[in-house]
Subunit: 166 residues, 2 copies
């Protein structure tokens, strides 16, 4: 595969994969485009490259900035805003974990907390409380594991010394 095809394929694939990752197509495509861009890009560049509207570009760029996956870059003498992607993959992975945990795990823990004080007594209530406790055990463990992960060094996770020799 040649370089140009590769880049094109990466953007398309990232967009398609994004939908399976709780990220919309366009947000994932913009992220991919910025990841492979050698220079920062402005809104216009992105609109043109991905054939999307200004509104769409703007909304998804802001979402990417909320996730700390993309930063604004202000060029001296330029009125327009330029955008760069966070290139450190461990930062990217950590931020994605943080956001997904917020969306997928934390609301669940809140519900389980509410449910853990149902009245005992009625037939079946004991089993119900047991179930909630079991679910909570796993959810809390997942929560604390992901917390440590996002606070750890990339080498601990991947078991390499990549960064040091870069």
């Amino acid at each position: 595969m040649n370089f140009h095809e590769g880049k094109e394929r990466f953007i398309q694939a990232w967009g398609a994969l994004g939908s399976n990752w709780g990220v919309n197509r366009t947000m994932a495509q913009i992220h991919a485009l910025l990841l492979i861009a050698p220079e920062s890009l402005c809104a216009e560049d992105i609109m043109e490259e991905l054939k999307i509207s200004r509104g769409n570009a703007n909304m998804n760029l802001r979402a990417l900035m909320d996730w700390n996956l993309v930063y604004k870059e202000l060029k001296p003498g330029e009125r327009r805003e330029f955008f760069v992607a966070e290139k450190d993959m461990w930062e990217v992975v950590k931020n994605i974990i943080i956001q997904r945990k917020k969306k997928e795990l934390e609301p669940m823990l809140r519900v389980l907390d509410e449910l853990s004080d149902v009245e005992t007594g009625e037939p079946g209530a004991e089993e119900f409380i047991r179930l909630i406790k079991d679910v909570k055990l796993f959810a809390s463990k997942a929560d604390s594991t992901l917390d440590s992960l996002t606070k750890s060094d990339s080498n601990w996770f991947v078991g390499t010394f990549m960064k040091m020799i870069k």
Copy 2:
């Protein structure tokens, strides 16, 4: 909160949370309903309780069976099929991890494999290859970590001896 409210809240909350978990509302609600049901339920029971159509019930029950979260139970002398949920939470968690990995991680690894042989030489190609390698490093590590997790014992993960004293 009383027992009845608790059950109702659990079903509703599970449905809402499901959408953030890549599972549709109804599939998650049926799962919740079966998890708290003391006896196996038939399609009719589920349709009535959740106020959904027969087609919807049928499709989502099949999806739950594909995920190994629900089993058919055939009662002697009964023509209808009955359904029970897998009640062992570790089994539930493992199966959900397996399915989500299949949907979210494995397609990504396939794309990265394809992309890892782009031609070198053109300006920027080196950086692109470096990026793909970095992403692959994390994706592969996540893949192997989740693989071990789904093959491990629940005690190893949650650090309790829950099962033994049950």
